[in-house]
Symmetry: C2
Subunit: 239 residues, 2 copies
Amino acid sequence: MIEAHLMRLKARHAIGADEVAAIRASIGEIRDYPARRILVEPGEELSFSTLVLKGLISRYKDLSEGQRQVTQVHVPGDFADLHSFTLKRLDHSIMTLTPCKVALVPHAKLTEITERFPHLTRVYWFSTNLDAAIHREWEVSLGRRTAISRCAHILAELRFRLEIVGMADKRSYDLPISQIDLSECLGLTAVHVNRSLRKLREDGIATFRTGRVEIQDLAALEEVGEFDPAYLYPTAVPI
Amino acid sequence: MIEAHLMRLKARHAIGADEVAAIRASIGEIRDYPARRILVEPGEELSFSTLVLKGLISRYKDLSEGQRQVTQVHVPGDFADLHSFTLKRLDHSIMTLTPCKVALVPHAKLTEITERFPHLTRVYWFSTNLDAAIHREWEVSLGRRTAISRCAHILAELRFRLEIVGMADKRSYDLPISQIDLSECLGLTAVHVNRSLRKLREDGIATFRTGRVEIQDLAALEEVGEFDPAYLYPTAVPI
DNA sequence: CGCAACTTTGACTTTACTCAAGACGAGTGG
DNA sequence: CCACTCGTCTTGAGTAAAGTCAAAGTTGCG
């Protein structure tokens, strides 16, 4: 059930048997949600964090003019809001992008982990710091990369993150979201994303169609997106 | 010496006398740096975190074409890289923007805090999650706000953050950085930042000149920047 | 004083946005 | 089985925002 989550943690740190047991003991209710279900509204007080078991979840902020900026996309194995453990009230919304299965982890259990498992605490702290590293890379995309480069970058990033949990390989992966969703991640209009994706397709680099990404030339994709996976910490230092 | 830091923590959480003592005990070497000194290069292994006592520090990433995106600016009282405690190697650079005084906090001391002070651990964890909240707000600026709105937003954000540590009021504050630095935060060219600042000045909202921000109309500044301080968690929930 | 870095402004270019219309595709009901 | 619908995708034409290039003005500092 939480294998993807353990996979994600173990990809970076040595997790002891007692820690795995503590993680399993922290899992509460399992829930299924349809696509586009809002899970968290800004400001509401939370008493649990949501672990993604299946599906894709986005965090986003809406502006006055109806514009939306997605600040992060979560894949299976990720916590969608481990940061809510310390923040309690979030500054953004959380929504499913696809049908999802999630596990609720009560904050009380996380508090217990901070009291009894300092190393696991540091591993979970690392996890929120990794989220922040992804935010930083997105800031770079939004601030400095061209539309085509942003598109290539996100396709490369999601491929890499999904590969860690065994849901992507070098050639393709499922990404059952719309170009509109993608445009909200990239700070572009859907029309412009469409044109940029066409360019990637015409250049023989990658194709995004009917919920699936087919990569013809991964090296080119990562080069166009200036994608360097270092910020995803594929190999972490023991803590 | 670390009063601004304690001020920043106490603005959000109750910090016990034993915790204050643990914080003071964690402070190592004090260092002074000139402006524009690079403190951390991407990938180098760190054994301490840097606490800002005086001055401004930026975190940034450089792209191949010589473009730079600043991902965060730190004010006195902030850790510039508390996240390096768990990440060890950073995905970005850290540089002083102005002459700075900093305190080095060995990671070993932070590890000790995670072993002996679970509540203080959660407070520091909160602190890195607050950094991530700022990253998210910057993603929104970079992705969706116009140039003028971005300029107004950052001036409002820095005012608010500096006020928390007693270095700004409603009317003005020192910001001894160049328009070039600002443009690297905002994902704009320096020329365009210059034009946007002129617009803010001509509209009687705010003036940024010779290292100082003078605010004629704070309400208008925050409205143009769509600035809502909720993401800075001025009032946090106990953890 | 004189240099260097930064600021300011103008003229022009590029990138991305807006608006609009037609095509496509999955799911629905007759 | 087919027409219909809704949301999404695609493309074209025109517009707006921000970038580029260049030059002059300003400021701080040695």
